[in-house]
C-alpha cells in the first residue's frame, strides 16, 4: 500500500511537472516580484528558494534595496508591480506506529496559495513594506506583514540601523522558519519556539498554518566592503506573546536579540536569545503565571563548493518551580535542548541533465528534555527546478517519537511531494 501511494505520488509529480513545463512561458527568469523590480535573477539572492544567500540577507535587512540603485521608485508598468503569487500543491503519505493508534494516511491537496508584496516606497527608499496573505486549508491568514523605516543612521541605502514594526520572523538571519529549503519544520521552531514562526494547530506532522508574533525591532547590518571582510548583522526587539490567553499582552512583552557575522566569504555564525512569556501549565513552552522563560541558541553555516552545511544548538530553560523553590518533575519545569545539522547539495554544473538545476539535502534534528525520552527527525529531500521559479520537491521523513512535551510520541514515516510555482 505504502509503495503504491509513493509510486502514485511520484507519477503525479512527474505528470504535473511535465504539464507545467508545457504550459509555462519559455522565459521565466524574472517572475517573482523582487526579481521583476530589480532585474536580477532569483539566484542573485537565494541559495535555493527560499533560503537567502549573503546578497539576499543584505537586500532584506536593507529594506529590499541594493545600495547602488540610489533611487528605488521603479514601478514603471504592470510588469514591475511588486506583487507575487505562490501556489503550493502537496501530496502527503504518513505511516505511524508505536504507542497510540497506528495507521497510515495519504492525501493530495492545494496546500497553500500565497499573495506576497514587498518593496521600498518612494525614491528615497526611507520606508519599506512587506506582506504575505495566505490561503490554506479554507482559511485566510496574514503571514509576515511589516513596515520598516530604513537608514536611521549612516549612509542612505546601507541599512546600518532600521526600525521594523509588524508581524515577522524572529530568528537568525541565515537560519529561520521562513528560509527552509527542507520543508520539514525545525524542532527549534515548533517545539522550542525560538527559530521563527510557531505552528498554529494541527498535528506535529501536518503542514499547519504558522503564526507570527507582532513586535518592534531595531535591526541593522554593517556589510564588509572587501570580499573577504566581515559582515555584521544585529537585531533587538520586543514582541507581544501570542499565546497569552487572558489579555494585557503588552503588559508582558517578550524580548529577543540576535547577532551574526559572516566572514572569509564562506563562514557564518550567529547567536539568538529570546525571553518568552506565555501562560499554560501543561506545556513547557507556554509557562504559567505569565513568567519569562529564557531561550537561546547558537548556529553556524559553512559553504564548501556545492555543499552548504548548517549546524545549531538551541535551548529552552525550564520554569522555576512555583512552590518552595525545589525543581519539580512537572513538564514545564524541565529544560529542553535541541541539536540539528543540515546539509544541502546545490551543484552548479552537472553534465547530461536538462536545466541542470536541482538540490539534494538532508537534516538530522534531535530534541532532549530532562526526565523524558528524546525524539529525533531525519529528513532527506530532492528538488528539481522545471523553471527558475517552478520546482518539484520530494521529502522522506523519519520521526523517532519520544516523550518530549510538544512533540509526537509516535514513530512515523512520511513522504511528501510538493509542486511549488511562483508568479
Amino acid at each position: 500500500m505504502r509503495r503504491s501511494v509513493l509510486f502514485l505520488t511520484i507519477l503525479l509529480s512527474i505528470l504535473t511537472s511535465g504539464l507545467v513545463e508545457f504550459l509555462a512561458p519559455p522565459e521565466a527568469e524574472a517572475i517573482p516580484a523582487f526579481s521583476r523590480q530589480t532585474g536580477e535573477s532569483c539566484s542573485t539572492c537565494h541559495v535555493a528558494y527560499p533560503k537567502l544567500n549573503q546578497t539576499g540577507q543584505n537586500f532584506r535587512t536593507n529594506g529590499f534595496r541594493f545600495p547602488e540603485d540610489k533611487e528605488w521608485q521603479d514601478v514603471q508598468d504592470l510588469k514591475h508591480v511588486p506583487l507575487s503569487v505562490e501556489i503550493e500543491v502537496e501530496a502527503e503519505y504518513t505511516k505511524t506506529r508505536g504507542a497510540g493508534a497506528s495507521g497510515q494516511e495519504s492525501l493530495l491537496k492545494i496546500d497553500e496559495v500565497e499573495l506576497l508584496a514587498g518593496a521600498p516606497l518612494g525614491k528615497e527608499g526611507r520606508f519599506s513594506g512587506y506582506g504575505v496573505l495566505s490561503f490554506a486549508e479554507g482559511d485566510v491568514s496574514v503571514g509576515q506583514a511589516y513596515g520598516q523605516v530604513n537608514d536611521l543612521l549612516g549612509e542612505k541605502g546601507h541599512g546600518l540601523l532600521n526600525i521594523k514594526v509588524g508581524q515577522f520572523d524572529i530568528a537568525l538571519p541565515f537560519l529561520s522558519s521562513t528560509q527552509r529549503v527542507i520543508k520539514q519544520r525545525y524542532f527549534a521552531q515548533e517545539t522550542l519556539g525560538i527559530l521563527g514562526a510557531r505552528r498554529q494547530g494541527g498535528s506535529t506532522e501536518s503542514e499547519a498554518v504558522e503564526l507570527y508574533n507582532t513586535g518592534v525591532e531595531i535591526n541593522g547590518q554593517l556589510v564588509a566592503k572587501e570580499a573577504d571582510g566581515i559582515t555584521h548583522r544585529y537585531a533587538i526587539g520586543l514582541y507581544q506573546p501570542k499565546s497569552l490567553v487572558n489579555g494585557n499582552h503588552l503588559g508582558f512583552p517578550g524580548l529577543y536579540a540576535t547577532y551574526s557575522i559572516h566572514f572569509w566569504e564562506r563562514f557564518t555564525i550567529g547567536a539568538i536569545y529570546k525571553r518568552d512569556v506565555v501562560n499554560s501549565a501543561l506545556n513547557p513552552l507556554i509557562p504559567e503565571g505569565k513568567r519569562g522563560v529564557d531561550k537561546w541558541g547558537i548556529a553556524g553555516e559553512v559553504k564548501l563548493g556545492p555543499f552548504l552545511a548548517t549546524a545549531g544548538y538551541f535551548r529552552s530553560d525550564g520554569l522555576p518551580s512555583t512552590g518552595d523553590g525545589a525543581l519539580s518533575n512537572a513538564t514545564h519545569n524541565r529544560a529542553l535542548q535541541n541539536y540539528m545539522a543540515e546539509v544541502l547539495f546545490i551543484p552548479h554544473d552537472i553534465p547530461f541533465i536538462p536545466n541542470k538545476k536541482f538540490v539534494l539535502g538532508g537534516r538530522f534534528d534531535h530534541i532532549d528534555q530532562e526526565l523524558a525520552q528524546s525524539s529525533s527527525r531525519t529528513t532527506f529531500m530532492g528538488r528539481y527546478y522545471i523553471l527558475p521559479s517552478v520546482f518539484v520537491q520530494a521529502e522522506w521523513r523519519v520521526h523517532d517519537g519520544g516523550s518530549v512535551a510538544g512533540t509526537s510520541g509516535q514513530d512515523s514515516y512520511a513522504a511528501r511531494g510538493f509542486l511549488v510555482a511562483a508568479f
Binding site: T38, N53, Q54, T55, F66, H348, D349, I350, L360, G362
Partner: protein, 139 residues
C-alpha cells in the same frame, strides 16, 4: 537503523556526485564569435555618450560591477566567480571591444555568473556606449 542506512547512502551519493559537478570557481567566460571579435566600436566616444552610458551603467550594471567598475558590487557577495575588474588596465587591454559587446548582448556563463544578456533591454547603440564607459574605468 533504516535512517542510518539512508544517511550513509545519501552521503555516498553526494560524494559520487561532487566530482561530476563543475568547479564553480573556474572562470568560463565564453568567447565571442570571430566576426564580433573583429568589430570596432561604431559609436563615437563623446562626453554625451559617456553620460548616457553612465546612467545605464548605474541602473543596470553597478549592483554587480560596482560603482567604480572594480567588480565588487553588493550583489556579488555569494558569487564564486566575481565580475571582471574593469580598473585593471593590463587586463582590459587584452579584451577586444567586440568581446565586451557580445557579453553585454548575450550574457556570460550562466552556471558560474549572473551576467545575463541585455539584447532585449538595450539598443545596439546603448550597448556599444557601455563598452566605452566600461573602458573609461581603466583610463
Amino acid at each position: 537503523m533504516n535512517t542510518i542506512h539512508a544517511g550513509i547512502a545519501m552521503l555516498f551519493t553526494l560524494l559520487v556526485l561532487w566530482p561530476l559537478t563543475g568547479s564553480a570557481t573556474d572562470r568560463k567566460t565564453p568567447s565571442a564569435p570571430e566576426e564580433f571579435l573583429k568589430m570596432t566600436n561604431p559609436v563615437p566616444l563623446t562626453s554625451g555618450t559617456l553620460n548616457e552610458a553612465g546612467s545605464i551603467y548605474e541602473k543596470q550594471c553597478s549592483k554587480c560591477h560596482g560603482d567604480n567598475g572594480a567588480g565588487n558590487g553588493s550583489a556579488t557577495k555569494d558569487l564564486d566567480v566575481k565580475p571582471r575588474n574593469y580598473t585593471d588596465k593590463a587586463l582590459m587591454e587584452k579584451i577586444p571591444d567586440g568581446q565586451l559587446f557580445w557579453i553585454i548582448c548575450y550574457g556570460s556563463d550562466p552556471d558560474t555568473t549572473e551576467m545575463k544578456g541585455y539584447k532585449k533591454k538595450l539598443s545596439q547603440e546603448q550597448m556599444w556606449s557601455l563598452v566605452h564607459y566600461i573602458r573609461s574605468f581603466a583610463r
